[in-house]
């Protein structure tokens, strides 16, 4: 199994961390710590106070998960929550109904399977994310997870960078095709080769969503591997010293990069880097080699000649055929495929999985994928290494558990934040919009005809549902106590084509959202060139035709 193999030191560290948090909770319960003082401490352990209860966000570093870990998550869902977990856009999982006094036990349970909730919130370096097809994609230069793990360790309880102006998110991709949305992260790292063929990192800084969405700027074309952490320390120090602390909404690094300009910011980083290069943070090659050994390819097996061919099963099983068109991703090793397990059934809550589903998936991962799973930033799961001959059998097993929805990358494969159903920041609900949309767009032939399309829904301006980069973005706004939604078109987060969506028009009431999306789709179907995906059509024609179509309707209604 490709999984960072915890050493004795790592386990001792987690045990010490659990003991510390147990003490912090006890001090909070006894009143020795005020809520004001406890808050940053609990946040560094992923514990939020939401509308109805505490929410615990558990880190799934760079989205890689082993079957025995998923079983532990199922147990937490069953024992300490209401039988569900919610996979997030940052490759984490959230439990929404947690009792404060249970959290030390939950952290101990997590530690028993080498997991934690460290730095999944708070103003520190958060869980580092990666391409969910790392180690699978044929276009990959190197498995980015090796470097993610190094960054995870380096950022863990970093003595200098644990009280930053604001949260800090790093994403890494090992492929030129960006599946990690690196341009909407505080730091995006893209593995590249220099002219001599050496592998290093292109460094992008200052992307982000929230109130002030921005696409990151490249501040250095190539950082050699040995300098990676020194260069990151230089960025972090410039941000820690100069990022704004007077206004929560202007405290992210993107605001600093914007106010200085990317070039001046890069110069400040270079000046800091000059004092750090070759110093204490220089990457230890032996440590990297140890981590890399953990991510060695699993023992792929040759194809079984007796196994049924995907094509021949698809020929007689239309539902299977449809699913294979959307939910498979080409594997670099012949005879294998990665399988996307959609957590977006019609009427479902995007990203939710029941404890029983988690247990079932853990078993399927053991049977079909070397015990390994991935969490995608699109709130789905992946079985990364499935033999093609076993795909039909896997599909049938997934179907039994309601996990064979054939919609990966299609209109009903939506992202939605928890919204006002859970979140204390939200203005509006997101989940019911997603549920209504997924029911409207549930006919397999219809969504197949529409083709690749990403809808992203946020219940407030903080943009946890990534609406800025949705092909169709939906943002909830409160209008005198009523739920209204702004629609944007043309956002995307796919590498160099990354763009922020443009506003379609004034906010519309909740009841109209589904119909307006339908009008947008009808317009697209009418004007698209053959084979042209939705995002490309919007890029070609702009928002205009969609604005006309949706406002025409409104005028008709008013008449």
């Amino acid at each position: 199994m490709q999984l960072y193999n915890y050493r004795a030191d790592d386990r001792r560290f987690l045990a010490e961390r659990v003991a510390e948090f147990r003490d912090q909770v006890a001090r909070r319960l006894s009143g020795a710590l005020s809520e004001d003082e406890f808050k940053p401490l609990r946040l560094m352990n992923g514990l939020y106070l939401q509308l109805h209860a505490y929410m615990l966000r558990v880190a799934i570093p760079y989205g890689t998960l082993a079957s025995h870990q998923l079983r532990a998550l199922a147990e937490i869902a069953r024992r300490y929550d209401r039988g569900f977990g919610h996979f997030t856009t940052r490759q984490n999982i959230q439990f929404n109904w947690i009792k404060l006094e249970d959290t030390p036990e939950i952290l101990a349970l997590l530690a028993s399977v080498d997991m934690h909730a460290l730095q999944t919130s708070g103003n520190c370096i958060r869980n580092v994310t990666a391409d969910h097809f790392a180690g699978v994609a044929a276009d990959e230069i190197e498995d980015p997870r090796i470097w993610c793990e190094l960054i995870r360790q380096w950022s863990t309880l970093h003595p200098e960078f644990s009280f930053l102006p604001r949260k800090f998110k790093i994403a890494v991709t090992g492929s030129p095709e960006d599946r990690a949305a690196v341009r909407v992260h505080d730091i995006g790292l893209v593995m590249v080769r220099d002219d001599a063929g050496a592998v290093g990192f292109e460094v992008l800084v200052g992307g982000g969503q929230g109130r002030t969405p921005m696409i990151a700027s490249t501040i250095r074309r190539f950082v050699p591997k040995r300098d990676l952490l020194s260069y990151l320390e230089a960025i972090m120090r410039v941000y820690n010293l100069h990022g704004r602390r007077d206004n929560l909404f202007k405290a992210r690094i993107k605001i600093l990069v914007q106010s200085l300009g990317a070039e001046a910011f890069a110069r400040a980083v270079d000046a800091e880097f000059a004092t750090l290069q070759g110093g204490l943070a220089t990457v230890d090659e032996a440590a990297v080699a140890r981590i890399a050994a953990d991510f060695a390819p699993p023992p792929y097996r040759p194809a079984d000649p007796a196994a049924p061919e995907v094509k021949s099963v698809a020929a007689v099983e239309p539902a299977f055929a449809r699913w294979t068109r959307t939910n498979l991703f080409a594997h670099k090793v012949a005879g294998h495929t990665a399988v996307i397990v959609s957590l977006k059934p019609p009427g479902g809550i995007p990203g939710d999985a029941s404890a029983d589903q988690m247990d079932a998936l853990a078993d399927l991962a053991d049977r079909f994928s070397f015990g390994e799973l991935r969490v995608t930033h699109g709130q789905n799961l992946v079985l990364p290494h499935v033999r093609l001959g076993e795909v039909p059998e896997l599909w049938r097993a997934l179907d039994v558990h309601g996990l064979a929805t054939a919609n990966a990358g299609l209109i009903s494969d939506m992202i939605a934040c928890p919204g006002l159903d859970y979140c204390s920041l939200a203005n509006t609900r997101s989940i019911p919009i997603a549920q209504r949309l997924s029911r409207r767009f549930s006919d397999p032939d219809q969504i197949d005809r529409i083709g690749p399309l990403e809808i992203k829904i946020s219940g407030c301006i903080n943009a946890c549902g990534h609406h800025h980069v949705g092909h169709i973005g939906i943002l909830g706004v409160d209008k005198k106590g009523d739920e209204f939604y702004q629609i944007t078109l043309g956002g995307r987060a796919d590498g160099a084509r990354s763009a922020l969506g443009k506003l379609l028009g004034p906010a519309i009431p909740s009841a109209r959202v589904i119909d307006v999306v339908q009008q947008i789709i009808d317009t697209y179907l009418a004007i698209r060139c053959p084979g042209e995906p939705f995002a490309d059509t919007v890029a070609r024609v702009g928002v205009g035709p969609f604005k006309t179509a949706t406002t025409q309707e409104r005028r008709d209604e008013a008449a």
Binding site: D10, E37, P159, S162, F163, P165, L280
Partner: protein
């Protein structure tokens, strides 16, 4: 003021006192054993004799990292730099400490002062602070337990080199 001194390994009374605003500052600094606001120090330093009768310290806010560059030429004259945290959330103080220790090689006492949490002790020590003077000195006893809470560290700082090897014995005998 009571403070925890890591090098001495115990709680001590501060040997230095804040510069008395009413006193003649040149004479007071010349007499030594005084802590001068950093901005005041940069105004007065050229008028102060080369050999004061006692140690001199300066004090700057964690929100004033810009003052570090202005102190660099005095680092061998200063026995103490006190960084005052208005809030434990102001992480700039940690970068100030590492910059002083690691880039500028400041060898004197480095004090973290103000609203700080015992839970931050290890971070502060690893960044190079060797004196802790929390605004709530009643809690100083609580602090000790936090320094050696972790026997594992995932980064290297210059101060780590002075800490004893992880997992063997307490980092400091406090």
């Amino acid at each position: 003021m009571r403070l925890l001194d890591l090098t001495l390994g115990r709680v001590v009374e501060d040997a230095l006192t804040a510069l008395d605003a009413a006193a003649d500052p040149i004479a007071a600094i010349g007499a030594g054993s005084v802590i001068v606001p950093a901005t005041r120090w940069t105004e007065l330093r050229d008028r102060v004799g080369a050999t004061p009768a006692g140690p001199i310290g300066v004090r700057l806010g964690a929100d004033r990292p810009d003052l570090v560059d202005r102190l660099v030429r005095d680092l061998d004259r200063l026995a103490l730099i006190a960084v005052v945290f208005e809030s434990f959330r102001d992480g700039r103080g940690f970068s100030i400490a590492r910059t002083l220790r690691e880039r500028h090689g400041y060898p004197g006492r480095l004090r973290a002062q103000g609203w700080l949490l015992p839970d931050q002790f290890r971070f502060l020590a690893r960044c190079g602070f060797d004196q802790i003077a929390p605004s709530d000195p009643g809690r100083l006893d609580e602090w000790r337990a936090h320094l050696d809470r972790f026997s594992v560290r995932y980064q290297a700082t210059a101060a780590d080199l002075h800490l004893k090897p992880a997992g063997q014995e307490p980092s400091y005998a406090i």
